[in-house]
């Protein structure tokens, strides 16, 4: 690991200041950053420790939603009474991720920004357009069983591994930041970028911009939600395919539906196609299946990850069944 300069701050302004020196990165939980620094994938010259910033609260918002500080630990967020009651999919998604130890360390902001598990990205001996644009993608002709089928390009097929972000997609979260140009709010659906020709750019954050909060809008009365994660092992493993669904029924018909997928996209994948196929329809397996088909229609499977197409469809169907108790 490269040596780095370390500084620590308890003020957001001071943090914004400190990050300006070249090669600086924020460090909070460190579970992605330290891991990648050990692999020499990340080589910051300086780390600004922001664990002391006053961004660790979970509070209701005036409109009945929730405001989550960027430094709230994943475990605290998962166990929060409000979250467990009103945003079940978020709690389930968090608890489905990583291990207890990692959940105690990882933060909301860090979870959103976690990097792909692509083997080639993580091994500097291999060509990787995400690490070095233009150098090539070793995964496309290599081992790509865990890689994405949605949002890919000929330059990159790396999967975004977060569970929390998928749930937050389905919950229509908004990311709030503070940067050199001031504060701004970004809908989560606009936050992530697909690789295209610039796989090194994963989100719209600008240099020096710090995530401060995530807000969730209130959900309609009677909404139910669920996170279903499918993977090779029973626990402590990333998703091969996952589904976060938020559904509100009225008289057996779907009034409000949000569908997002994990493990299959180069970013946490919200499927408006699935939502349109559900809206106003009867809650039945037939409907769910149609929605799943719509969600995976744009999929571009490769030799080793083609199985994900059907797996992701079934994840959506099963998640919807569980949520509407028609399983």
């Amino acid at each position: 690991m490269l040596a780095f300069r370390y500084s620590q701050t308890n003020s957001i302004d001071a943090a914004a200041d400190a990050i300006r020196s070249p090669g600086s990165k924020f460090i909070a939980g460190g579970t992605t950053l330290v891991d990648l620094m050990k692999l020499n994938v990340e080589r910051p010259a300086a780390l600004v420790d922001i664990n002391g910033l006053p961004l660790d609260r979970i509070e209701p918002t005036a409109d009945g939603g929730l405001r989550i500080g960027a430094l709230v630990r994943n475990s605290d967020l998962a166990w929060n009474a409000d979250v467990k009651q009103r945003y079940v999919v978020l709690s389930e998604a968090l608890l489905a991720g990583a291990s207890a130890q990692l959940r105690n360390m990882a933060t909301t902001g860090g979870n959103l920004l976690q990097r792909t598990r692509c083997y080639y990205f993580r091994d500097t001996n291999y060509k990787c357009n995400k690490r070095e644009p233009g150098s090539g993608c070793s995964a496309i002709d290599g081992f790509h069983r865990i890689h994405a089928i949605l949002g890919t390009s000929e330059h990159c097929i790396a999967t975004h591994p977060s569970d929390m972000a998928v749930a937050m997609m389905a919950l229509e979260a908004t990311v709030h930041t503070r940067g050199p140009k001031g504060e701004r709010s970004i809908a989560l659906t606009d936050f992530y970028l697909v690789p295209g020709t610039t796989p090194n750019k994963e989100n719209v954050l600008e240099p020096g911009e710090l995530i401060t909060y995530v807000t969730l809008p209130a959900l309609p009365q009677g909404t139910r939600s669920h996170y279903l994660k499918l993977r090779d092992r029973a626990s402590y493993e990333f998703a091969l395919a996952s589904a976060a669904v938020v559904v509100q029924l009225s008289g057996g018909r779907i009034q409000h539906a949000r569908v997002a997928m994990g493990g299959v996209g180069t970013k946490p994948w919200r499927s408006k196609e699935a939502e349109q196929a559900l809206q106003g329809r009867e809650a039945s397996e037939h409907t769910f299946r149609a929605a799943a088909e719509a969600a995976l229609k744009p999929a571009k499977p490769l030799r080793d990850n083609a199985f994900k197409v059907e797996l992701a469809k079934r994840a959506i169907v099963r998640a919807l069944q569980v949520t509407t108790q028609t399983a």
């Binding site: 040596a3 370390y6 620094m37 050990k38 166990w79 207890a100 130890q101 990692l102 626990s235």
Partner: protein, 227 residues
């Protein structure tokens, strides 16, 4: 007074031999290499009343000394509160909490199993919460209360989780055991369901290649019942 191991780095960097240094600066004054080898060659596995001999040796080690010079280039003074004692060491910022414990602070009870947060062998408590010490830098924990496996037993009394692990034979080779026990003892304060399946899920971050899982679950459940 025993110095942190930075003294030996000092020797390397300054070219002075051990005998050039004052007796205060001598490396591991009480634990010369010869005495180590003697001790370890006679590493009798005493099943008698002083089984914590090694742990006792660590506890006796004086703490609180600091080397004013940056003996490792780039090292800065770091103060850590571990098992209720304050330690001072010169550490580079890139030294992980795990390596600081094992290599600089003579607390090798916490184990390195993967160094990438994937196995749980390095689990310690930070402010009472279980974390992977391999994925955090020591310098980030100067305001924290850190507990390691060496600090779990209080006044010679085993922690209920430690006792339960012995009673249920929750280990074989013992290498994952410190991490398992630190994980399980923190779990006692977490909102985990009652069933064995809930315990398995909660302990999923600790791998045991010897496969002592059934006994580990039994030990954890016993500790939970008596907690």
């Amino acid at each position: 007074m025993r110095k942190s191991r930075d003294s030996e780095i000092l020797e390397q960097n300054t070219g002075k031999t051990t005998s050039d240094l004052s007796s205060e600066q001598q490396l591991f004054g009480r634990f010369s290499r010869r005495s180590f080898l003697t001790q370890l060659g006679a590493a009798s596995l005493a099943a008698t009343t002083a089984p914590l001999a090694h742990a006792a040796a660590v506890a006796e080690a004086p703490v609180g000394d600091v080397d004013g010079k940056a003996v490792v280039p780039g090292a800065v003074p770091v103060t850590l509160k571990i098992n209720g004692q304050t330690h001072q060491a010169m550490l580079e910022p890139r030294v992980t909490l795990l390596d600081a414990l094992r290599e600089n602070l003579q607390l090798p009870g916490t184990k390195k199993g993967c160094d990438h947060g994937q196995c749980g062998a390095c689990t310690v408590h930070v402010n009472g919460r279980r974390v992977n010490s391999c994925l955090s830098f020591a310098i980030m924990h100067q305001n924290d209360e850190i507990t390691t496996i060496e600090g779990l037993a209080q006044g010679g009394e085993l922690h209920p989780v430690q006792a339960a692990f012995i009673e249920h034979d929750g280990f074989q080779c013992g290498y994952c055991t410190p991490g398992q026990i630190m994980s399980a003892s923190a779990l006692l304060k977490e909102p985990i369901g009652k069933e064995d399946a809930d315990v398995r899920e909660a302990m999923a971050g600790n791998i045991c290649r010897c496969g002592a899982y059934n006994n580990i679950v039994a030990a954890v459940q016993q500790a939970r019942r008596s907690a």
